[in-house]
Symmetry: C2
Subunit: 702 residues, 2 copies
C-alpha cells in the first residue's frame, strides 16, 4: 500500500514540475526554441535590427528558410501596414516591416497558415494613455507603481529603467501600438519642466526604435503655474508664445514628439472656460502651436459640470455646438460611454454626431470599474460591443468604429486610445489575465473588426501555449486545445458579462463604493457630496421601482441618439434589456421578457454572476496540469477573491435594493451571506497598511 | 400602476408586523391568553403558589375547568415524579407537583392529548454547571456576562438580579432541572469567602421555590489559598477540619445546599495528587464532610496529564484503578467523550466500566466547539447518540444512559450535568436556537429515552408557535405545521451532522483554532506548545494519510472498550465511518463505502456541510411570515455568518490537508474561495474592540 502511495506522490510531483515557472514578464512574447533562419533585409536602422533579432530568436517556420524584409512603395500598403507571405515582409516604412514581422511570428506561434495577406491599421494613432503621476503613483493603477516616473528626488535614468521601457515598447510594438502618453490626464504642470522633459527624452529614445511616439498630458494652466505668467488664457498672446516656446523645447529633445492630451474644465482641472473661452479656442491654440511640428491635440470630452440634470447628456450638450470649430489637428477624445467606463454603457452619442470634427474613442484597459487587478474580466468583448454599435448617423452600418476610423468621415487624423494597465509588477499588469486586455486593445486598435474570440484564442496560445518541445504539452496539442484552450477561452469571452451580472446588470451603472470603485456602494450618499458622485443619483431606486428615466418623460437623453435608436431606447418593447435601467425607471413588478418580475430578474442576474465565477474557478482548477504552476496559482488565488467579492456585490446590492422592493429574493436562489449593515459599515474605504508601508485599499476584507 | 404597487407595499408591511416582536426573553414559556381555570391545591408553600400561578396564567385546557393538585404517597411516583390526568396532578412532593403542572401546560400548549400518565425522572440530580467566574465573565460563555456574578466591587443583590434569577429558575423548573452549580469548575477559592457565600445564599433563596438546589465548584487548594493553612493535603486533619467548618457555614446560609463539583489535577488546577494522594482520597475527604448534610461531591474525570501518548486513554487509565474506592456520595463526572466535547466523539470508555462507582455524564450545552452562539446547532441529537450508545459492559443494551441512571448498577445517587449556555443577553443564550439546547438538556435529563425529534417538535411549538388568537398563525395551524414546523425541525435535527461535516467529518477531532475554538486551525502547532494542545497531534495528517491510530498497532485505545466494540472499532470493515479517523490512520487513497477515496470523501463531506448551511438559509428565509420579525432577523443574520464560516472551515481544512494528500478537490465540487495563507494568518486570534469596549474575538472577519 505504502509503495503505491509513494509512487502516486512521485507522479504528482513530476506532473506539476514539468511546466517551468513563469512569472509572466514575457507576456505574449515568451521565449521559444527557434528554428534557424536567414534574414535578408534592407537598411541597418535600429528598427530593422529589432525586426531581424525577433525573427532570429523566435522563428518557428521552416528550418533554414530565408526571409526577406523589403521596403518598397505599394499603394495598397499604408504607412504602418505590410504585405506578408510565409517568407517575405513588405512595407513602405520600417515600422511596417516591424509590424509585419510580429504578425508573421504570431501566425507561426499560433499555428496558423501563412498565406499572402495585406494588413493596414484601422487607426493612425494607436495610443496608450498612462495615468502615471510624476511622483510614481498611478491613478487607477493596480499593478504597482509607474514604469516611467519615480518621484522628484529620483530622476536618474538607470539601465533597469531602459530595459523595462524597452520591454514595454516591444510588447506594444508587437501588437501595433504606436504611441504612449507618458503621464496622467490629471496632469501636473511639472511634466513640462526641464527635469521632466529630460526624462521624457530618455524614454522617447528607448521607445522610438519600436515605432512608438511619445506624447504628454498637459495642464491647461501650465503657463501660469509653471511659466509664471499672470494668466493661461488661450487668447492671450503671451500664453500662446509660452506654449510655442515650450513646444520648441520639447521637439528639440524629442524630434518625433506626438502631441498633447488635455483634460480641461473637467473634474476640477483648469481649462479655457476659466477665461471665458470655449474648448475649441483652447484646443486650437495648442493645436496651432504643434501643427508645424506634426503634433496633434487630443482634447477630452469627459466633462460633466452640472449644466444638465443628467450627467449622461452633458458632454454632448457641451461639445456638439462646437462641431466644426476645431482645427484639423485636434481630435476630440471621447470615452466609449456617456458616463465613465462603466461595466456596461451604451456608446456615447457624440460618436458619429460630430461630423465636422475628428473624434477618437478612449477605452479603459485598466480595470477601474471592473475589478482592478483582482478580477478576471476580459474587456475585449466590451470594446467590441462599442466599436460595432451602430450609431445610424450616416445610415445603417455607421458603427462607432467606422465613425472614428475615417471610413465614413474621411478624417485627416484617426486615433484610438486605451488607458494603460501597466505597472512595476513583474508581470506588468497584476492579474495575469489583465495582460489579455493590453493585448486586445492593441489588436483592436490595429484591426477594429477583429472578433474577441480570435483575440482570446491568439492570446491564450501565445501566453500559455507550448513553444518548447520540453514542455508538458508537447505532443499533447489536441488535449491542450480541448482541456485548456476551449474552456478558458469561453471563460474569458463570458467574463465581462459575468462581471456585469454580479455588479450592475440590466443597465444599472455607477453604484460603486466611493473613491476606490471596487466594491458595491449603492447606499453611498453622504450629505455635502455632489449628487452625481453618489450612486442613488444613478440607480434612482425607490419603493416604486428602479432605474434612470432618460426617455422623453425623463431626462430626454434618448434624444441625443440618432433614429431609430432614440425611439428604440424610448420604447420599452424595443429597448435592449441590457440597457433597460439605463434608460427607464421601472416598477419592481415590471414583467421582463423572461416572464420574471424586474426584481426577480435582478436577483437572478446577481446570483448568476456569483455562480459563473464559481464555474470559472472549476475551469481554472482543471487547467492546472496544462500550464506552469506559478501563473496557475496566482490566477487561482485571484479567482478565489473574485468569487468572494462577487458575493459581496450580490449581497450588498440585493439587500440594499430589497429595502425598496420589499420583495423576497426568489427562494430557489442562494441566500445572502452578509448583512447589509456589515457591508455598509466598511464603505467607503477600508484601509490597512500594506507591507511596504503604503496604505492599501482593501475593500474586500469583509 | 402606482396604486397597485402601493397596495402591495401596504400588504407586505401588514403581514410582517402582525407577529409581535419577541426578544426571546420568555424562552419556551411565552405569555398566552389563558382560559379561566379553578385550581384546588393542598398547602400554601411558595412552590405550590408557583404551580397555581402557572396554571392560572397559562391554562389552555377546557375553560372554567377545576384542576386539583394532590400530594399523596404512591409507590409508582418517585420524589420528583408525578401522575397526571387532564385535570389532576398528583405527586409525593411539592416539586413533583410543580413538574407535573409544567408538563400539563406543555401538553396543552403543544396540542397533545392529555391521558393518564406517570412520569419519573431518569436522574436524581439534573444539574446545570455554570462556568461563571466571580468577576462576571463566563468561560466559554457566548451570551453575555454572568447572570450570577458581577465582580468584586459589585456584590449588592438588586431586584433586577432577583427577577433574572427567578426567570432562570422558572425556565429550569419547567424542564425538570433541579440543581445549579453557580461557578466555574476552574474555581476561584474566593467563592467560599463570606462575601461570596452571602450572594450564594441570595441566589439559593430565589432558586429554592422552583425546586432548584444550589451547588458550588470548589478549588481544592482553598484551605491554603483562602483559609491560610500551610497545606491543602486532604489527609491533613487541619484541612479536613477547615472543610467541615466551611461546609457548616454554607449550610447555615443554604440549608438545602447540594454539594461540590471539583476539577482536580486537571489543566493546572490543584488536587490531591499535589500531596501524593489519589483522586479517591481527595474526593472522599470532601464527601465525608458533606455527608451528614446530604451533600454530594461530583468529581470530574477530565484529566489528561501526559501519562499516556494518547490523551483519549488518560482518564480511563487514571480512574479505573480507583473503581470501588470512592465513598457513596461521590459521583465521578465524566464528559460524554474521551477527549473534550468535540463535535463528534465515541462515548467515554469509563461509562459502564466503573462498576463500583457512581458515574455521571457531563454534557456541554454551551457551544464551545460547535459554533459558539453564532451557529445553529441543535445538540440533542449528539447527546441522544451518546446516551443510546451501547457500552456492552453488562451485555447488550448497556447503554451509557442505563449505566449512569441507576437501572443497571443501582447506584445510590444518579446525576447528569450540562455546562450551561446562559448569560445576560436578553434572550439568555445569544442564538435563539441555543435556547433549544438548554431545553433539550433538561428534557433528556428528565427522560433519557426521549427522541430529539420529539424535543425539537415541542420546543418549536412552544417557542415559535401561536398561543394567541391574535397572532398571525391563528387559524393557520396546518400551514404553520407544513411550512414552518416541519422544515425547521428537519433543519434542527440535521444541524449537528452538518456542523460535523463542515468542521471535522469522518472522526476528525480537535482541529480547532487555538484558544477560541471557533474556526479551523489544523495547522496550529507553534513550538513550545504541548503537542496535545495542537491539532496535528489529533489529525496526524502526513503524505501517507490521515487519522489517529488507536488500534492495537497504535495507541491501543480500542482496548478500553468492552467487546464487541473493541474488535469493531479495530476492524476497518466494522468500524463506523463516523469514527473512522478517530481510530485509524488511513491512506488518502483508502476506499470508502461510498466508493470514493478517503480524500474525495473528505472533500465531499466538507462541501456538503457548506451546502447544508445554505439550505438552512433557504428554509429559514421561507419561514419569515410564520414568526415574529425580531427573532426572524436575528436568526437570519446568524445563519449568514454560519454560511460564511462553514466556507472558512471547508477551505481551511481542505487546503491544509491537500498539502499532504496532494490530490485535487473533486472537480464537481465548488472550489475554495480562500487561500490557505490568508486563513492561517488570522490564527489563532483576531481581536477587535467591540461596541461596549470589551474585546471580542472575531475569528470570522477574514
Amino acid at each position: 500500500m505504502k509503495t503505491r502511495v509513494i509512487i502516486n506522490i512521485f507522479l504528482f510531483a513530476v506532473i506539476h514540475m514539468v511546466a517551468k515557472a513563469d512569472n509572466g514578464h514575457d507576456l505574449w512574447l515568451r521565449k521559444t526554441i527557434a528554428n534557424p533562419v536567414k534574414v535578408v533585409g534592407t537598411g541597418k536602422s535600429q528598427k530593422m535590427a529589432i525586426a531581424m533579432e525577433e525573427l532570429n530568436s523566435r522563428w518557428l517556420g521552416e528550418a533554414d528558410a530565408t526571409v526577406t524584409l523589403t521596403i518598397s512603395p505599394d499603394k495598397r500598403i499604408k504607412p504602418d501596414g505590410y504585405r506578408l507571405t510565409a517568407n517575405n515582409v513588405q512595407a513602405t516604412t520600417e515600422s511596417g516591416i516591424l509590424y509585419g514581422v510580429y504578425e508573421l511570428l504570431r501566425l507561426q506561434q499560433t499555428k496558423q497558415h501563412v498565406g499572402t495577406l495585406i494588413s493596414n491599421p484601422s487607426y493612425q494613432y494607436r495610443l496608450l494613455n498612462h495615468w502615471d503621476n510624476l511622483d510614481g503613483s498611478v491613478e487607477r493603477g493596480y499593478a504597482g507603481r509607474s514604469i516611467f516616473w519615480k518621484g522628484k528626488g529620483n530622476t536618474a535614468v538607470t539601465d533597469d529603467d531602459r530595459s523595462r521601457w524597452a520591454g514595454y515598447a516591444r510588447a506594444c510594438a508587437s501588437i501595433g501600438i504606436n504611441g504612449s502618453v507618458l503621464n496622467n490626464v490629471n496632469a501636473s504642470p511639472e511634466v513640462l519642466s526641464a527635469a521632466s522633459l529630460k526624462r521624457v527624452k530618455a524614454i522617447a529614445d528607448v521607445l522610438r526604435p519600436y515605432g512608438i511616439r511619445t506624447f504628454l498630458s498637459v495642464n491647461f494652466s501650465s503657463p501660469k503655474l509653471l511659466g509664471g505668467l499672470k494668466t493661461s488664457d488661450p487668447l492671450d498672446p503671451s500664453v500662446a508664445r509660452w506654449w510655442a516656446e515650450k513646444i520648441k523645447e520639447i521637439y528639440t529633445l524629442v524630434p518625433d514628439f506626438g502631441g498633447f492630451v488635455v483634460k480641461a474644465n473637467s473634474e476640477g482641472q483648469p481649462g479655457p472656460q476659466d477665461f471665458g473661452r470655449t474648448h475649441a479656442e483652447g484646443a486650437n491654440m495648442l493645436a496651432d502651436a504643434l501643427k508645424s511640428r506634426g503634433g496633434i491635440v487630443m482634447w477630452r470630452a469627459f466633462v460633466y459640470s452640472s449644466t444638465d440634470k443628467d450627467r449622461a447628456r452633458q458632454a454632448y450638450n457641451e461639445f456638439m455646438p462646437l462641431d466644426g470649430k476645431f482645427h484639423d489637428n485636434v481630435i476630440i477624445q471621447v470615452k466609449n460611454g456617456p458616463i465613465d467606463f462603466q461595466p456596461r454603457e451604451p456608446f456615447s452619442p457624440l460618436f458619429g454626431a460630430m461630423k465636422r470634427t475628428s473624434v477618437m474613442n478612449e477605452l479603459q484597459i485598466t480595470q477601474e470599474y471592473l475589478g482592478h487587478s483582482k478580477q478576471l474580466v476580459f474587456l475585449s468583448t466590451m470594446w467590441e460591443e462599442c466599436l460595432k454599435s451602430d450609431t445610424y448617423q450616416e445610415g445603417r452600418g455607421s458603427t462607432v468604429a467606422r465613425c472614428t476610423n475615417g471610413s465614413i468621415f474621411g478624417n485627416k487624423y484617426t486615433a484610438i486610445a486605451g488607458v494603460a494597465n501597466t505597472g512595476l509588477d513583474s508581470n506588468w499588469t497584476g492579474h495575469d489575465f489583465a495582460q489579455a486586455n493590453w493585448y486586445a486593445f492593441g489588436r483592436l486598435a490595429w484591426n477594429d473588426t477583429l472578433s474577441s474570440a480570435q483575440i482570446a484564442d491568439e492570446w491564450l496560445r501565445l501566453t500559455f501555449g507550448s513553444n518548447d518541445q520540453n514542455e508538458i504539452t508537447a505532443g499533447k496539442d489536441e488535449l491542450w486545445n480541448t482541456e485548456f484552450l476551449k474552456p478558458v477561452k469561453e471563460m474569458m469571452l463570458s467574463s465581462r458579462e459575468t462581471a456585469v451580472n454580479y455588479s450592475m446588470p440590466l443597465g444599472l451603472h455607477h453604484i460603486f463604493a466611493a473613491n476606490h470603485h471596487y466594491g458595491p456602494g449603492p447606499w453611498y450618499a453622504p450629505t455635502g457630496v455632489r449628487p452625481d458622485w453618489t450612486p442613488p443619483y444613478y440607480h434612482q431606486a425607490d419603493t416604486i421601482g428602479i432605474g434612470f428615466n432618460r426617455t422623453s418623460s425623463g431626462s430626454k437623453a434618448v434624444s441625443q441618439y440618432h433614429q431609430p435608436l432614440a425611439s428604440q431606447f424610448e420604447d420599452l418593447n424595443a429597448c435592449p434589456e441590457i440597457y433597460l435601467l439605463w434608460f427607464h425607471h421601472l416598477p419592481w413588478s415590471y414583467k421582463m421578457r423572461s416572464g420574471r418580475t424586474l426584481w426577480d430578474e435582478l436577483c437572478f442576474r446577481y446570483d448568476r454572476g456569483v455562480q459563473q465565477v464559481r464555474e470559472y474557478q472549476k475551469i481554472w482548477d482543471k487547467s492546472r496540469d496544462y500550464i506552469d504552476q506559478e501563473r496557475f496559482l496566482r490566477v487561482q488565488s485571484k479567482l478565489k477573491q473574485q468569487a468572494r467579492d462577487a458575493q459581496v456585490w450580490k449581497d450588498g446590492c440585493l439587500l440594499y435594493f430589497q429595502q425598496f422592493s420589499r420583495r423576497p429574493i426568489p427562494y430557489e436562489l442562494e441566500r445572502p451571506v452578509y448583512d447589509l449593515g456589515l457591508l455598509e459599515s466598511v464603505n467607503p474605504l477600508y484601509i490597512i497598511p500594506s507591507a511596504d508601508g503604503e496604505k492599501e485599499i482593501i475593500p474586500n476584507h469583509y
